[in-house]
Subunit: 191 residues, 2 copies
Amino acid sequence: MSSNIHLALVHFPVYNKGGEIVVSSVTTLDVHDISRTCRTYGVESFYLITPLETQQRLVRRVVDHWVTGHGAEYNPTRKEALVRTRMGNSLQDVLDDIRERTGQDAKTLITDAKTFPQSIGYERMKAVLGESGQFLLVFGTGWGLEKRIVQDADYVLAPIEGVNGFNHLPVRGAIAIILDRLFGRDPLRNQ
Amino acid sequence: MSSNIHLALVHFPVYNKGGEIVVSSVTTLDVHDISRTCRTYGVESFYLITPLETQQRLVRRVVDHWVTGHGAEYNPTRKEALVRTRMGNSLQDVLDDIRERTGQDAKTLITDAKTFPQSIGYERMKAVLGESGQFLLVFGTGWGLEKRIVQDADYVLAPIEGVNGFNHLPVRGAIAIILDRLFGRDPLRNQ
């Protein structure tokens, strides 16, 4: 299995509750949950982005435990999920890595509550993703991606809209929903 | 806001890796993630089901912190998500609670990899949920719901299918995807 879809979870630069640009902490459960979700939908590589060396080491320990350590034997499906999980120092670093591995520049895709010239619906985005080329879906932690990442994105999807304007999904849930909207299918569609 | 949709996360009876029936542990992150996802899609009540009194107390402490304690002021949207989170001793207990609160017996809805006489596609299920009556979406933890819960369900949805048969989504992600399939919408559908 190999696909042209990559996903990044950004821990810097993101906003905190007060609107300042910060480095958010890596949540080890994100490593597991998002790796499993990415594997479910055939995402080629999942990058955790943080400039903090200690946090990168923590993630590498988790991944190594399940991919080559005791965990690989205990739960082989977890190994299968985590084998495509990588680290990056920055978004540029990840884009460089994708270019090196595939020979192509990836287009970036984010979600934002505001509408931009690059805003696109899910159905049209599905058609674009079916074309050739590499695509990187970029998600922010904390209170969201720094605005320059948003402005520079090639495509902007609408966020998941809640009832009565509630818009506070966990990032793990938002990623699952967006991957399903873009790549999911219903085997019992007509039953 | 009030709806006819309820959701339960079952910690007993479920299977462990060895196929034995066990009580799984409550994960406090599930309390937050699933409450936020339920609130996003307008689910009326989210029940965590466990017979263990110590685990029930743990969940109540988490919920109380955010609903009436310091957390309510620190993050009002978290309060809004958790105010509909409840505890149940058993699935029957939850069904009794729904009947007491609404005057109606809830129909149960589960997902399973196998096909049953009650199996139904997502599109048809959406139409059923639009009818009157109460509905309880039931999800298992660990290695899945005990088989009698599955056999007794009023409706069975197909699980989320992965690429190359990978079928190991975290329950938090599966709930997010299924609620989006049943209740989500794309505001930029034609853009």
